[in-house]
Amino acid sequence: MIGQPLDRIDGPLKVTGQAIYAYEHWEPGQPLYGVIVGATVGKGRITRIDTDSAEHAPGVRMVMTHRNAPEQGARDESVPMEYWRAQPVLTSPDIHYHGEPVALVVAETLEQARAAAALVHVEYAAGRGRFDFAAYEDEAYAPKEANGGFPTDTEVGDFDTGFSTADVRIDQRYTTPYELSMPMELHACLVQPRGEDLIVYVSCQIVDAALASIASTLRIDPARIYIITPFVGGGFGSKLGIHAETILAAIAARALREPVKVALTRQQIFQLVGMRPTSSQRVRLGAGRDGRLVAVAHDVTMATNPDIEFAEQTAATTRSLYAAPHRLTTHRLTPLDLPRGADVRAPGEAPGLLAVESAMDELADALGIDPVELRIRNEPAVDPESGVPFSDRHLVECLREGARRFGWEHRPTTPASMREGRWLVGYGMAAAIRKHFQGQATVRVRLEADGTAVVQTDMTDIGTGTYTILTQVAADGLGLPPERVRIELGRSELPTSWGSGGSWGAANSSTATHRACVAVREKLLVTACGDTGSPLHGLDPAEAVFAEGSVRIGGADEALSEILARNHPDGVQAEGETRFMGDDPNYAAYSIHTYGAHFAEVGVDADTAEIRLRRMLGVFSVGRVLNPKTTRSQLIGGMIWGVGAALQEEAVVDLRSGAFVNRDLAQYLMPVHADIPDVDAVVLDGYDDKANVLGMKGVGELGICGAGPAIANAVFNATGVRVRDFPITLEKVLPGLPLMDT
């Protein structure tokens, strides 16, 4: 089954509306509805809050503000990861960012709650907030480490000398905007109190984190909390942790002793779930005339919330990418009174590659070397920073195969030289790299007496295909047809994992599932080969083959159902695990990444500078592919995300109020179908034996990495205009367009 394009096993449930999401569960009965009221200043203090008319509005059961909210556990930085920490809300009259919750209104219907929310009257003493990144960029500080445990700064060789003596130098600054994860399913939670227990239906990526975070915020025993999240309508990082919706629903449900549900509005997602902070990135590349890099520096400054530090690992992107003896990377943070920064799909690489791969294009142009060839010339033999070998690096194959399939040789070598009617046409490319992470996961596999297998883990399926791939892994692992495998996910009483995120979910849970299957097989073989009643008695278990519901050793075989009936009438079960990469020697001994190469053709309207993608191809190396269909969906989705990052996505801050101005999907733009005429992803055959026993690596974020700069470089090739301030909207290109003479 592994390697087959199995259809999503949850697909029919989803298209027939039978997949139940957090806000939709009815098991608890009629719930109450909570609506969050947000602050309308970006910094300051509540001076007066009048809840009287809201409390007396029809159907209202509770109005909670900082005055009557229960005491909550404090956010504790000794807990290693943010998503596991307490997330207290309504703790004081102080306002730290625009939209911060100031009240929760709970009523019998959503309409009543919303109407009453409008009646909560709040007065503020507005403070002077810091909202303007450009104005404070110089006041940046160095964080202790970057997100994901990456060192803040790294240095190899002597960058300054290497750079100053290089034949050709690129020294440019690139800026990227605030961006947000916008899953289709809004962040939502339904909490049912049952005695002292809380049943929590919540849309989240990591069950264990949600559990820990709720328990420590509400200061209750984790054993009293049950998380249920069978289906999640997208997360992209924004559901790694839980937010005000969950904490407030839980507090209200406990206080009212009734089920309460709370969902954020689309507008509130711009304020309450974290964002990718804006960045300013200086990239310096020094090379010889032959195109070989001698010096590479990537200095990144990003915004952070002052209280909840987030240092996106943007400069880390450069550390394993190209060979160069002299190298430097730094991360700096500028505190601003804006919502917290958080992981947004491909943290680090998404903004980092926009800068570095644009700079590589500038270098290729300065040298007069083909951009594909320039990258091939700088392919390192070992990890250029750590010096350890690569586990399985195929960047050059991706570049070559992509160039061949795309017809890269037709690229106009002179910018602004290809024209089709009113369109200026250009080609661009960029490399993709993403570090492969491994996290902890435990999976239990039970082979029932009737010969069906049940795979159990608290791992989530956030729309990526977890149900499907684990079916495939378990089917192969036990020699069963896929119909005989059942997957149970997203419940806190199941074995613990680090969920979906960082592109690690598939590899962690698949590897653990595989190991659990191996353990189940061993148990079965021990009994069967030791059982005089079995045709397998006395045969060598090492020779056993599990297929089609039976076990065969040499010429003898026996159905699983018979072995089970005789020796394991209650079924047989075992657990498999993966370890955190920090505890797995391979991840120190090898540099383990996924790779790719993106190729794009764009048209730029010669009159209006409207930029339209014409076609796009990505070629990727991700180790072994479990399911080509789900893999392709992830990669293509990522590539489209890259198109948005290059051309459209930007959350605009009002520099006076600190509010995001374009707080809905009519104003915060991302590609629609008409923007994506032709996009394809090709995956090279592969197997990375250092990553894990299945030879697989993550694909969820790789598609974005490098997709944006391929578009940006195509815009340059089409127009001769280099835009370093993302997104590339038409007004940035317009002044460089040719005169209109005909």
Binding site: A118, D607, V652, D654, V661, A666, T729, L734
Partner: protein
């Protein structure tokens, strides 16, 4: 959203009578009004549902024009064979707007009266003279990339977002209105919309209970019609700038031209200045540029939208060149 009462009158007269109640508002497709109600920007206490009135037809007029019922759906008008052949600029403008689903629901009357997409108008925490007269205009010193370059005031720099209305403006459409006293009047579309002045909350000359019953298109003007919409993505997005043009040219001379812009002002912007600079002139880029300069003579940028001035010029030049070429 606040509570409201609802009624569905049987005919147009009953509708305008019902709308005389204080706090009443018409609802047609609801694609704009319901959003604004949910965001607490509009708060009618009474909704008069006119979506099922018998005002969906598109009728032939004796002079060769068309009368489009106020309830005709945007998609039906765009697909109408007579509109497509005689008023292609209108059909093009309609299909460039919103999405298929929205166009199926959106009515002709509602489209004319859709409200601005200024982000501060949508943010009840921000000052906005249009939403809350006297509270100031947050866009002037704020984020104003999509705002007006022509006819704006110190009180408001918002634009009218409709594509359809721009095409109707270039076609000299007349809007037929029915008032609560059952009086009927016709207003030229150029007189229908107001500039913001110091009352940006008043957007049209419509009286409180007055209802749009239809839009009358006079016989099509001679020449080639074109609608060109410039936007940040390929679909499902409002115009940064749009141009509706009708050009009749013979032997390299422009006999007659009409020009209207969208996305540049508080109303669809008919440019008589550009038209004057085109009539009787050679059909060359130099003429188009002179027309574009004339159209933009009084244009003022607000900072983020400065680019719209040059964008409007270039879009006009290209649209005129294309229209003249094939007329």
């Amino acid at each position: 959203m606040r509570s409201f009462t609802y009624e569905r009158p049987a005919d147009a007269r009953a509708a305008v009578a019902a709308a005389s109640r204080s706090g009443a508002k018409f609802i047609s497709g609801g694609t704009n009004l319901l959003d604004l109600m949910k965001l607490d920007i509009e708060h009618p206490s009474h909704l008069v549902d006119i979506s099922r009135l018998a005002l969906r037809d598109i009728d032939e007029l004796p002079d060769g024009g068309l009368r489009i019922g106020a309830q005709a759906a945007n998609s039906d008008v765009a697909a109408d064979a007579r509109v497509r052949t005689r008023y292609p600029v209108l059909s093009q403008a309609l299909v460039s707007g919103a999405s298929g689903q929205l166009r199926n629901k959106a009515s002709t009357g509602g489209n004319l009266l859709q409200r601005t997409r200024c982000p501060y108008f949508y943010d009840t925490a921000a000052g906005c003279n249009k939403r809350d007269p006297g509270s100031g205009c947050s866009a002037i010193d704020g984020s104003n990339r999509i705002h007006a370059i022509l006819g704006a005031s110190d009180a408001c720099i918002a634009t009218h977002p409709s594509d359809m209305a721009v095409a109707m403006t270039v076609l000299d459409a007349q809007i037929e209105l029915l008032d609560a006293d059952e009086s009927v009047r016709r207003v030229a579309i150029t007189d229908f919309y107001r500039l913001p002045g110091d009352t940006p909350h008043l957007e049209t000359v419509l009286r409180p209970a007055e209802m749009i019953t239809s839009v009358v298109l006079p016989p099509p003007p001679p020449g080639r019609q074109l609608y060109r919409k410039v936007r940040d993505r390929a679909s499902y997005e409002f115009a940064l700038v749009s141009v509706a043009a009708v050009v009749s040219a013979d032997q390299a001379t422009i006999a007659q031209a009409r020009v209207a812009f969208g996305g540049v002002a508080h109303k669809p912007w008919r440019s008589v200045e550009a038209e004057a600079a085109l009539t009787g002139r050679p059909a060359t880029m130099a003429t188009y540029r002179a027309a574009a300069d004339a159209a933009m003579r009084d244009a003022v940028g607000q900072g983020h939208n400065d680019f719209k001035i040059e964008l409007a010029r270039r879009t006009l030049c290209r649209t005129l060149a294309q229209a003249a070429q094939s007329s």
